[in-house]
């Protein structure tokens, strides 16, 4: 198969439709596409309960919130895998922080604090750009410290795709 054959047959996407899509994306806000009731973990939840959650559900990341619904941090699959197989972690990561995390019994102790967050009034364009540029897979949506939703790359793709029609 020639290179020409591979790339012919369809007009470059970005030339026509792409420009139009960009305009449309500017009008779509995060609050329109976010998942508004994400499964959350409470700061004081026990590690076993969290393992159980990761076993039953298949989301990559869960937000950790306090009793007021304020976002404290996130727990993702990488954290869980590292906790389950701490000894397989590379020696470079044998920091006291990792060790402290592996000893913690609560969500607060094992979570990654200070995750990157976005507000619900940001546009689809803005967050898609950040996702592309900085390889971020998902964002917690926070308005005035409160977790109001979560947006992941697949939601963004779906939203852009549906804008086409």
């Amino acid at each position: 198969m020639t290179v020409e054959g591979e790339f012919s047959g369809r007009q470059p996407f970005f030339e026509e439709e792409g420009l139009d899509l960009e305009e449309k994306c500017k009008d779509v806000l995060v609050r329109d596409i976010m998942i508004t009731d994400p499964v959350t973990i409470k700061g004081e939840d026990h590690v076993e309960k969290i393992f159980d959650l990761f076993n039953k559900e298949h989301f990559h990341t869960y937000p950790v919130v306090d009793e007021n619904g304020d976002l404290l941090g996130i727990i993702d699959q990488n954290t869980i895998l590292q906790l389950l197989l701490t000894r397989r972690v590379s020696r470079l990561d044998h920091t006291h922080l990792m060790a402290v995390r592996s000893l913690s019994q609560s969500a607060r102790g094992i979570m990654i604090p200070h995750p990157v967050t976005i507000t619900s009034d940001m546009t689809l364009c803005e967050i898609a750009e950040t996702m592309i540029k900085h390889k971020v897979e998902r964002f917690c949506v926070v308005d005035e410290k409160k977790l109001v939703g979560i947006v992941c790359k697949s939601d963004v793709i779906q939203a852009i795709y549906s804008s086409r029609s």
Binding site: T86, H96, L97, A99, V100, V116
Partner: protein, 392 residues
Amino acid sequence: MMEFLFQILVILLAARLLSEVSERVGMPGILGEILAGLLLGLLIVEETEAIASVAELGAIFLLFTAGYKEVHIEDLKASSKKAIVATFFQIAAAFVAGFALGRFFEFGFVESLFLAVAFSPTSIGVVVKTLLDMGYLSSKPGSMMLTSAIFDDIIGIFLLSIVVTVGKYNAFPTATQFMLLLGKLVFFIGIMVILGYRVFPYIFNYVQKMHSKESIFAAVVLIALFSAYFAEIMELDAVIGAFIGGVMLSNVPVAKINDIQSKVSGLAYGILVPIFFAHIGMAVELEALNTLGSFTILVVVLALLGKLIGGFVGAKAIGFDSYESFIFGSGVMPRAGVELVVISIGREMGIIGDEIFSAVVLMVAVSIIISPIILKFAIQKDKQKDTSTPVG
């Protein structure tokens, strides 16, 4: 240029290869990296200014990543007062041992002080694997070691700032000079805290919207360099600034995106830090070790014993039994990072000579090899005690 390229190529290649060998035999990579430098120093590579500069960047990024990746300000707040007592004892004992040894061998006051500071810190990472393997990470002494290690970093940096200032005056500072140093350090930390909480988040908010390539990564590196340079202006040392800069960035979410963390880690541990460790190895003078044979042996023995005994006494003081105290003492023995930075600064300032420098490098290497072995032995003793205790 050609020569510089060749040197960097050879040093990095040797450091990476021997680091891998070291890891394969169950030792930390740093051991292989120092050994690579030692061999290259003996065989072909001459130490040049260009290599020394790259190595200095390695030291800066070693401490920057320590602050950026490993310190959480919240951890300090949560740490117990008990840990401060145990930490104080093990650091004080090692410090006194180092200073007394230097004076005994008639080294100068400042030189002895550098030796004392090089004796003081602990690199807990070396024994984490042993604790994990033996299932003792969650034990009382295990968790105390971890808390102690957090204070260790902070105290190590504080001691380093003092010793660097003392080095500049080449005498113990007068009360006024000491207050001036403290003032500068407080001023520096104060400015960095304001930057960390007020300015950096604002900068990163802007940087993440920039169109130029790798803007966030570049901003993180720039802040590392800025913090190091700012510390130098304040007559502190660059590495102190880098560490504090790293700590200040650790709370800025955008700066800690996984992708950025792995790039910073790649730059530091993939390139610069191995060159720093190899450069340390290159600077070791085997002849110097020979001429002062008994001194070298005492550096190794006292540095290890200082921590072991200091840790033992400290742990006893907070109510641990003898077995647990032995475990704690042996766990705080390893040195692998800050101490090498201390002696390389001392050497660069022309304060410490080849004898102390080479002996401390040897001490670091021995501590890396021997600490896990002694810790394992201590844990086995503790386990034997538990099984021999009659039930009921």
